[in-house]
């Protein structure tokens, strides 16, 4: 009886264990792929504002995934804008000397994660990013907070890392998909 109990406990612990992930997310969200309309000829300046100090955002895993999301923001915002315009320039800020048609500013992402106890239950990751679109005379065309959500099972000791990466990818993809859908008509006006 005791021996079987040990095996049972080991089995349960494997099911429950959502391992500590080393994040390795290769993000290729559908939102950054070419849409039905070809990119426009207007020029766009892109500014991605990262969190000022990620070390203050949390500790351990929390800090790791926030840092990862910051990193993903920068690369994928550029990829997304390339599907909207052929002429995208990455800027550090919108300076007075810039002479571009539009400016798109993405502010530091905020994230919230819910976790579950059991492997088969779903975890969620919510990413909220403030986006601002300015025209060449610096008038605000859009100032929206866009929220993306990813949902994946918690997974066990074998699948937990992959599921955690997948939930980040899903949340970012969802967010970029919505942003693209929101920005496209504004720039086409």
């Amino acid at each position: 009886m005791l021996c079987y109990g040990k095996w049972l406990l080991l089995g349960i612990s494997l099911i429950l264990c959502a391992c500590t992930p080393k994040l390795d997310v290769e993000l290729s969200p559908a939102a950054t792929q070419q849409g039905p309309n070809p990119p426009g000829d207007f020029s766009v300046g892109l500014v991605v504002v990262p969190a000022p100090d990620v070390s203050e955002a949390g500790t351990g895993n929390e800090m790791a995934y926030r840092a990862k999301i910051n990193e993903l923001m920068a690369g994928n915002a550029k990829a997304m804008m390339n599907t909207i315009s052929r002429n995208v320039t990455v800027l550090s800020s919108v300076g007075p000397d810039e002479q571009l048609d539009y400016y798109v500013v993405a502010y530091a992402p905020r994230v919230e994660r819910t976790t579950r106890l059991w492997a088969m239950q779903n975890q969620t990751l919510t990413v909220a990013v403030d986006w601002q679109v300015l025209n060449k005379t610096r008038e605000t065309l859009l100032k929206d907070t866009v929220v993306g959500e990813g949902v994946q099972p918690m997974g066990n000791g074998f699948t937990g890392k992959g599921n955690f990466e997948a939930v980040i990818r899903d949340a970012m993809s969802d967010m970029f998909y919505k942003v693209r859908a929101r920005i496209m008509p504004v720039l086409a006006r």
């Binding site: 049972l8 239950q121 779903n122």
Partner: protein
């Protein structure tokens, strides 16, 4: 010399090579199998509970109180005080955690104007107000015996504050963890974010709605009596941006 594989544990054979030939052995195996089966079922049962998605709130026009303000933009709000409704749509009685959800609806009925809604630019009016030592008169204007809290001033007030919506994404769910049942606390947290209203730009004909979460003042201060939604609007891109306030009795 006894077969080592047949060594008994607690008087029962533990190896399959040793055939059980008494009732106790058969009973023991049956008990172990029942225990394992029960454990497995318990795991499956527990995994299935606590994750029920909460329904989306569909507002009806009767619930929403229209705001007074400049024409062209329809603003309305509804303070959800009812315990049954809160438990249905948020999975928890939020008021017990000193938070009241407030549904805000905005529609741009103009043909030219751009409307900017900033979720942090809200103000609450109370019938009376308790001031903290750092609060100055300019941030807490008083008219006709009423007091007003702005989101920006809330930090300076002692024991009475509007949860700054910009901070809710991180801060608010953790407030609720203690109040929610452990089984559904994560779903409660996710659901609060899903129903929240964030910053939004409304072009002509566009509308938006969602909840903001008002932190009730603690310690005997009355419930809010009015909500002011401050939006910014401009009549076309060439026109200057201006502020426009809409007040709703809640």
């Amino acid at each position: 010399m006894p077969d080592q594989r047949c060594l008994a544990v607690n008087g029962r054979a533990r190896s399959g090579l040793c055939k059980p030939n008494d009732k106790a052995d058969r009973h023991g195996r049956t008990t172990r199998r029942a225990f394992m089966l029960g454990g497995g079922l318990a795991c499956v049962g527990l995994a299935g509970c606590g994750g029920e998605p909460l329904p989306a709130y569909t507002s009806s026009e009767q619930n929403l109180s229209p705001a007074t303000g400049e024409s062209g933009v329809a603003v309305a709000a509804y303070l959800m005080r009812d315990k049954t409704l809160q438990e249905k749509y948020f999975g928890i009685y939020l008021t017990e955690a000193n938070i009241t959800p407030c549904l805000i609806s905005i529609k741009n009925d103009t043909s030219t104007d751009l409307v900017y809604f900033n979720a942090e630019d809200l103000a609450l009016a109370f019938n009376s107000i308790q001031r903290g030592p750092e609060t100055n008169a300019s941030s807490v204007p008083e008219t006709h015996g009423q007091g007003m809290l702005t989101a920006g001033a809330s930090v300076a007030l002692v024991g009475a504050a509007l949860v700054a919506p910009g901070l809710q994404l991180i801060a608010l769910p953790f407030i609720l963890i203690g109040a929610a049942k452990m089984a559904n606390s994560q779903e409660v947290k996710r659901n609060i974010l899903a129903k929240q209203m964030f910053n939004k730009t409304l072009y002509p004909g566009e509308a938006a709605s969602g909840f903001v979460y008002l932190k009730n003042p603690a310690g005997g201060i009355p419930q809010p009596s009015a909500l002011t939604v401050n939006i910014r609007r401009r009549a076309g891109l060439a026109a200057p941006e201006r502020a426009s306030a809409y007040s709703v009795s809640i």
